[in-house]
């Protein structure tokens, strides 16, 4: 069975009309894993075959009316999955099996999803490329978006990635990277699936004090737009387009033209503090990381602090330094102030436009190892994504076509809780 062309919605239709079974889906996934996981190293942990088949049979015994009934899903290895090993792709947690379930995976399971396994990632999600895994480099990634870790992989794989508003989806049970930026995000094949997943994951959580109390919308209801008439699309000259790879400029422009063709009006908006985003991000994020990784002190979880990889150590050092007395004001506090200015930039911009258009990554996908020894260039990968995380805004990454046979992505950024708007615009764009 070929599952490559199935979306969540189409698979559900086929399951409900009994064209396929959940067992078919699970077996196809397991077959793919057997064939390819050794080469691509997508999954760090795969759930036991028998358990998966049993779950699929149970789903098949129902009428598949649950919103994700029998749908195989892979979650990034940051999510605590009860009784299923969770390593955050770090050797420190090599042997850690959680005794509790994250809110997101609980909701997915309750919706009928079958969690096939845990996806590889950068260790502790430190990076946008997946090369910082303590295990083996990742060729594909899916889970949390702190500085772009969902949108970049989505773009590099010609997929749709949604980073919701900070607090829209619960962080409970997800290994923390930078708590004030971490967002539970997802990669799907199209906008409809993305809206469908958010319908399941979004909502207030009594276990997460930073989750947003406002009730989520029915995001599938937002997918009605055929054109973009009357939509004001912001474009910022400050968004450091200069760092963009020249090869990408043409493709990004084409995509912008498409928005115009659909009736969207392009309006220039200033975002004067966004050029400082990467610097701000790389002070605040390591600061929070240095504290969040303190619990792995060698007393619990088996492996000690010597098992941290190079990137984790680098970030712990930078963060510890930034928070130390005598440096706190010059680094952490200064960065917090810039963060406030960046937030204000966006708030002002959204007084004039509905969404803001930007590339996702400044360069084309590159070969594994090509840049891993150049952390500063790697940090610049976050140039278009990190200001969005610093501001807690939602952003939808969409495929924009190919350059040199490599996928390119764009993102549309909205004001807080504007996920419906992003889906509706994204849906109209996707149809073209």
């Amino acid at each position: 069975m070929d599952i490559k062309n199935l979306t969540i919605i189409s698979a559900l239709e086929d399951l409900r009309s009994k064209k396929i079974t959940a067992v078919d889906l699970v077996e196809a996934c397991l077959e793919n894993i057997r064939k390819h996981n050794q080469d691509y190293n997508v999954l760090l942990t795969v759930e036991d075959d028998d358990k998966l088949i049993k779950q699929a049979r149970e789903a098949d015994a129902t009428d598949h009316s649950s919103p994700l009934s029998g749908i195989p899903i892979v979650v990034k290895d940051m999510f605590s999955t009860k009784n299923l090993r969770t390593t955050a792709a770090s050797k420190v947690l090599e042997n850690y099996t959680p005794k509790y379930e994250s809110t997101v995976t609980r909701k997915l399971k309750e919706a009928g999803a079958i969690i096939i396994g845990k996806a590889n990632q950068d260790a502790w999600a430190h990076g946008a490329t997946g090369e910082n895994s303590d295990f083996e480099p990742t060729r594909n990634a899916i889970g949390t978006d702190t500085g772009g870790s969902i949108r970049v992989p989505a773009s590099y794989n010609n997929l749709v990635g949604l980073k919701p508003t900070y607090g829209r989806v619960s962080r409970y049970g997800v290994v923390a990277m930078a708590s004030s930026l971490d967002t539970m995000a997802h990669v799907t094949k199209n906008v409809t699936d993305s809206a469908h997943i958010l319908n399941i994951t979004a909502g207030a959580d009594p276990y997460d004090a930073t989750s947003i109390k406002t009730d989520p919308e029915d995001y599938l209801k937002s997918l009605t737009r055929e054109d973009l008439k009357g939509v004001k699309i912001g474009l910022s000259p400050d968004f450091k387009m200069a760092t963009l790879d020249k090869k990408l400029v043409k493709k990004i422009d084409e995509s912008l033209k498409l928005f115009e063709k659909l009736g969207g009006k392009i309006i220039e908006v200033p975002l004067p503090h966004t050029p400082e985003s990467v610097e701000t991000y790389y002070i605040l994020v390591p600061s929070e990381i240095s504290s969040n990784l303190a619990r792995y002190d060698g007393i619990r979880y088996g492996n000690g602090r010597s098992h941290f990889g190079a990137e984790a150590k680098r970030r712990i050092m930078i963060g510890t330094y930034s928070l130390s007395s005598g440096y706190y004001d010059a680094y952490y506090k200064a960065a917090q102030k810039v963060r406030t200015l960046i937030i204000k930039d966006f708030t002002s911009a959204f007084e004039h436009v509905d969404v803001i258009f930007a590339p996702v990554a400044p360069v084309l996908p590159y070969k594994i190892g090509e840049k891993v020894n150049d952390p500063l260039t790697l940090y610049l990968m976050d140039i278009y994504t990190s200001p969005v995380n610093l501001s807690g805004l939602p952003s939808l990454a969409l495929p924009a076509g190919f350059v040199d046979d490599l996928p390119v992505g764009i993102q549309i950024i909205g004001p807080p809780l504007s996920e419906s708007r992003l889906f509706s615009i994204g849906n109209a764009y996707e149809k073209q």
Binding site: F79, P98, Y172, V175, A176, A209, A294, R295, I299, S324
Partner: protein, 460 residues
């Protein structure tokens, strides 16, 4: 010649008696509970677990702040205090640094010279307790066991300015603070169970003779000694006294030699009856405080404050003053009654009961007070109304007794005519003999008999 002035400040930790812990739903009770049974992903600091603040604990901290005359910060937040220790599962403690819930309060005490002293309270903040380590031997091996039942229990820290000038003042403050916390009903403040913990810091200022004596206040601050000794491991008010007295002696001796005591942390050793050095402190530890990103900042509205303010009961001082006014009791008696809120309530209930019998009260208020204080009435066993009846009965019985006593004395005098005669002749020592004989004949107080016998003899 120099004189020496102790300068003492206090940090007091009080564990709140909330049902659940500070940031999770686990029961906050931990004393005598089987280890690691009151735990969950949050208080074990498991990967991905998040803290959600306990509303009651926040309210109670504000309540204490208000009772201590503090200003309540409209904007407050939690911070992370980063340090490694095996009883700290997250590698940081969630505490309050920059914006504590309450600041700038004060507590008035009266020292042994009967001077009123105002002890300034710098801050009252809320944090989480750590787990507990137990160093023990298992199968001949020295090991440390960790119990996380206490991890995440709400803990309030009350920090004073260095305003104490004697050990006695510290003692008065601690007793008063404990009384207030108990009145508020927010903690058992049981030193033995560790629900109240003390950390005094002490240094000694040298004052050249004839210079104006040291008084606390702003003009004094910049003259504080440039060292400070922190005292830990103090498990009772008595140990606090002993440790401080020991330190005054020790530091004075060092100063007299012309040296400066080392800045350090010392612990009280009951076995050695001395403080012993725990660790040297080069400067302040760097805890790399930063705002706790997992908890949104707190905003305390005026409406919330007003509601909490209404929950403050009449506090011990006010109660004692009212007792003096309303019931014409002495300050001493009123203070004794106000010592414990349940005793004070009991007293008032009994008085009400007595006064209810119009037109005249059943028994004088002073009798009720004296009975409660002197006879150590078990207020949980005797109802207030019952107490009044007891007092009444005892009065009646003592009246009956008087006539009984009269009969006995007449009888004894008749049986001992010689002794009576001797008394008449001026041999006063026979009084003792007659009292002794009477004592054997009935169950009376010696004083009561003495008075009656002497009266009778005068009239013979």
């Amino acid at each position: 010649m120099n004189t020496y002035q102790p300068i003492i400040g206090l940090e007091v930790h009080v564990e709140l008696a909330t049902k659940s812990k500070m940031f999770c739903g686990c029961p906050a009770e931990h004393f005598g509970i089987e280890p690691n049974t009151h735990t969950c992903p949050v208080c074990l600091g498991l990967p991905g677990a998040l803290p959600v603040p306990n509303r009651k604990a926040v309210e109670w901290t504000i309540l204490l702040g208000l009772a201590l005359g503090c200003q309540i910060n409209e904007h407050s937040k939690f911070d992370r205090k980063n340090y490694f220790y095996p009883d700290l599962p997250k590698g940081y403690q969630i505490s309050q640094y920059e914006e504590p819930l309450a600041i700038n309060g004060s507590l008035e005490i009266r020292n042994s010279k009967s001077e009123i002293r105002n002890i300034r309270i710098r801050r009252v903040h809320l944090e989480e307790d750590t787990g507990k380590l137990q160093h023990t031997t298992v199968n001949g091996k020295d090991i440390s066991l960790a119990d996380f039942n206490r991890s995440g229990v709400p803990l309030v820290e009350i920090v004073t300015e260095p305003d104490f000038r004697s050990v006695d003042e510290v003692d008065q403050y601690l007793k008063k603070l404990q009384k207030i916390v108990r009145y508020l009903g927010i903690s058992g403040t049981d030193m033995e169970k560790g629900s109240m913990r003390l950390e005094p810091s002490i240094s000694i200022a040298q004052i050249a003779k004839h210079s104006r004596s040291y008084k606390h206040g702003k003009d004094f601050e910049h003259k504080l000694p440039d060292y400070r000794v922190e005292l830990k491991n103090i498990n009772s008010f008595r140990f606090a006294r002993k440790a401080l007295e020991y330190e005054i002696q020790r530091q004075t001796e060092i100063l007299e030699k012309g040296e400066t005591p080392t800045q350090q942390t010392r612990g009280w050793s009951e076995a050695k009856n001395a403080t012993i050095p725990q660790r040297e402190k080069e400067g302040e530890s760097d805890y790399r405080y930063f705002p706790e990103p997992d908890i949104p900042p707190l905003r305390i509205s005026n409406e919330q404050l007003a509601i909490i303010n209404k929950q403050i009961p009449e506090l011990p001082d006010a109660k004692s003053t009212r007792f003096q006014k309303e019931f014409s009791l002495t300050e001493h008696t009123s203070n004794l009654l106000a010592e414990d809120k349940s005793v004070a309530d009991y007293f008032e209930e009994a008085v009400k009961n007595s006064l209810a019998a119009s037109p005249s009260p059943l028994t004088p208020i002073i009798d009720v007070a004296n009975w409660i204080i002197n006879k150590k009435i078990d207020i949980n066993q005797t109802l207030p109304a019952e107490l009044i009846q007891q007092i009444l009965r005892s009065k009646q019985s003592s009246q009956i007794d008087e006539s009984e006593l009269e009969k006995i004395i007449v009888q004894v005098f008749a049986e001992n005519p010689k002794a009576v005669e001797d008394y008449k002749k001026g041999k006063l020592q026979v009084v003792g003999y007659l009292i002794g004989v009477c004592l054997k004949k009935g169950n009376f107080h010696q004083a009561q008999i003495k008075e009656a016998v002497e009266k009778k003899l005068r009239n013979v």
